[in-house]
Symmetry: C2
Subunit: 461 residues, 2 copies
């Protein structure tokens, strides 16, 4: 009965316990039968460990183990053994050892899996991957995505805290459509109409007058009536905003610092996950080139012969192409594109005094597409009021926002980074839905909406 | 012109620059006139600094300064001077120095304030405080609340990361009312009905099968049709969940560790803010007492003579009283109350095998009220399915959740801490709205809904 009192050993710790009796707990990742031997790969939060079940060691254990299938939750007591030299698995953290099972206890059973979770890569269509999300997330390569996502967020927070930014928590239930447009989800708010925030923009700006430098990691909502590989209806926005900028280029300097720091931290802290995913992160050469939209369009025209010089924005193929250009110039596919047309940016964007039809705005394009969007904001109350009206909004809907500017606001600006977008691009993921644990789009809220419709129709019959 | 090239000095740095020329930037907190001298208290993100404007030093500067009012944003160039011994302000970080202004530049003007922001404490009624939220948040004592709130959240994250928890980001747009009940906000989701999550509960449970130990700092929404001093319609929930517990008391041990760590970190990192607010934090003696609900009710009956022994829960006055009891016993007003009735807890709560009418659930009461709520969850698929039905829900609405349990789930549980609730209680704030930057309740979404109604009615005429 002495096994009962053993403390749990994590699989990653077994390599230091050769010859010792240990208790491990986890999910059966795979089961292989070799004659009368059963091999289990046991997954816990730290790693995988190979378990060997040998009827010659214990007939009783073998009888229990015969029923074990993938994803069963089990507790195994046994002895850590060094593997023979030729059976060492160099790709596995615990590849030098295995556990000879002396006792096996089934904690929770699993139904037969709808597909083989033991494959090195899950070759499933996206709808299947998402229909079985609670299962497919268990796959090591999918887990790795979200381990890296965690690092991205903490790196964002850490670098800004070092720069004296304060973390804030702002509401997502708002009285108005922040960014204008119809792409907003209405909420029935105690019989009144409220909306889900399209961004924390207005609140982070207000907070500049409180803490000067603020950041927030906030949920944002876009009711985009389209299905693309790079938009989600609910996403995580990493937002920063700060005042007393000496020049609007301070904003790009800060965005550059944040992005470089994120890439660096993921490289350092997620070696194992990057290795598993076969990803080598780009090295960003500082400074990242900065082009006005017009200049970028000229380069693209000269490079491709396709003339987008009078477009108000870059389209997805332009974005790819200009990243390629940047890579040719600097070795890294990163470029700032600045000075977007005033009419195409939200009302709060500061026009360039030298050429007021263009704004002091920027996008940082990374690898293939927009990673960061930002710019200087209008901090003058009268000008802001004027813009709100010109953009077709009613100032009375912006009362709490305008209040901040009525009582003294320094020159300020900031930027936003889409968490799932950057996760996707860093890891070369094809569809942004794979970079969100439980993605929301116009076809799905966990279950497919078409399925829900059918169920409702059936219930009504 | 050499002043133009000066780098900005933060007010807190001036104490080390006596005799030097500096450039400071910030908001005018107060202005005092003494004969022909003007004194300004300038606020920046680091502290306050006193500015002296003397017409004998510069007549030109004086002329500019005459117009300056509170909350103006200004840049001041001048010399840092040691204050005479008897003018030293010991309550101020920069109280040993002041700046003699040589140049003053107005960056942004402010309208005349609706009330005096220079008072040591803002003595305003709550509606006034919130109607002018973008202004009142600038007050040092209100700022201090949110500096402390930042520490609470980072301490929560830090202690759990040390315990090997992974941070996750889960959706707030959900297909079902997580906790049951009618207190949920419906969202028009592309013509379908979705809801705002009442908690991240179901997703964090799913994620136990991926990472074993997870936490999230998530927005949660409760459409409570009541106005109390301790509920918000949108709040921040700090949630943790973990698997492979040996006993359900592991959950209380972890919650205790988190709460003690939060209190400790706030004590260490927010000395200045606590001092400003006149708050001395309680010292928690470990272990925090653990009482079954029945035991707590018996103690309360013996203590007060009021008989609540057949109630299914503690009411607010019971909570206060049992905290007082805990303080008498241990010196700290903290107590775990456990074993709430099965019928009164959500469907996923694990009943106690010894007495299935009661659950393995707990609330940690702190100071006056519930701080943490948690418990062991049902990890057996069949039992969970049965409970979903018994609680009047349809299993097909819980498909993605049930999936996690269909494929192997270890014994697990967790807890949730309301960020604004704990901020309020730690600081002795009377109303939870003051512990939220932009509080949401049934009367207000920034602006009062009654005001919005009037405006709408007017627009229709």
């Amino acid at each position: 009965m002495s096994e009962e009192k053993l403390e749990r050993t994590l699989s990653s710790e077994t390599v230091n316990k050769v010859g010792q009796k240990v208790l491990v707990k986890g999910w059966v990742k795979t089961r292989r039968d070799h004659g009368k031997l059963i091999f289990l790969d046991l997954r816990d939060r730290s790693s995988l460990i190979q378990i060997v079940i040998n009827p010659h060691v214990s007939e009783e254990v073998y009888k229990v183990a015969v029923d074990i299938k993938p994803e069963f939750v089990v507790e195994i007591t046994g002895e850590v053994k060094q593997r023979p030299e030729k059976l060492i698995n160099k790709n596995l953290l615990t590849g030098t050892v295995e556990i000879e099972a002396h006792k096996v206890k089934i904690i929770s059973k699993a139904e037969t899996l709808p597909f083989d979770m033991g494959q090195e890569t899950l070759n499933l269509e996206l709808p299947t991957l998402l229909d079985h999300r609670s299962l497919t997330l268990r796959h090591p390569k999918i887990q790795a995505i979200f381990k890296i996502q965690q690092t991205i967020v903490s790196s964002f927070r850490d670098v800004l805290k070092e720069e004296d930014f304060t973390e804030i928590f702002v509401p997502t239930l708002v009285p108005i459509a922040t960014e204008g447009g119809a792409e907003v989800f209405p909420v029935n708010y105690y019989g009144h109409k409220a909306y889900l925030a399209q961004s924390p923009q207005l609140y982070k700006q207000i907070m500049v007058s409180i803490f000067e430098r603020v950041f927030t990691v906030a949920h944002a909502y876009r009711a985009e009536p389209s299905v693309t590989t790079r938009h989600l209806s609910e996403y995580v926005s990493m937002d920063a905003e700060f005042g007393f900028i000496s020049s609007w280029t301070d904003l790009m300097d800060m965005a550059e610092k944040v992005i470089i720091s994120i890439i660096k931290k993921v490289s350092q802290e997620n070696k194992e996950e990057l290795n598993l995913l076969g990803v080598v992160l780009p090295e960003i050469t500082k400074p990242i080139p900065r082009l006005k939209l017009k200049e970028a369009q000229k380069i693209l025209f000269e490079k491709t012969g396709i003339d987008h010089r009078s477009d108000p924005d870059l389209d997805p193929s332009d974005e790819k192409e200009i990243c390629r250009w940047a890579e040719e110039q600097t070795g890294a596919p990163f470029v700032f594109v600045t000075h977007y047309p005033t009419k195409k940016r939200p009302f709060y964007t500061m026009p360039d005094r030298q050429d007021p039809e263009y704004t002091l705005s920027f996008d940082l394009l990374g690898i293939n597409e927009e990673w960061v969007t930002g710019g200087q904001r209008i901090n003058d109350y009268d000008m802001l009021l004027d813009h709100i009206k010109k953009w077709g909004n009613s100032p009375q809907n912006f009362e709490i926002y305008l209040q901040a500017f009525r009582y003294g606001m320094p020159p300020e600006g900031g930027f936003a980074i889409g968490l799932e977008r950057i996760t996707k691009d860093i890891l070369g993921i094809a569809n942004i839905r794979e970079a969100s644990l439980f993605p929301r789009d116009m076809e799905r809220v966990d279950e497919r909406l078409s399925v829900i419709d059918k169920e409702e129709a059936k219930a009504k019959q």
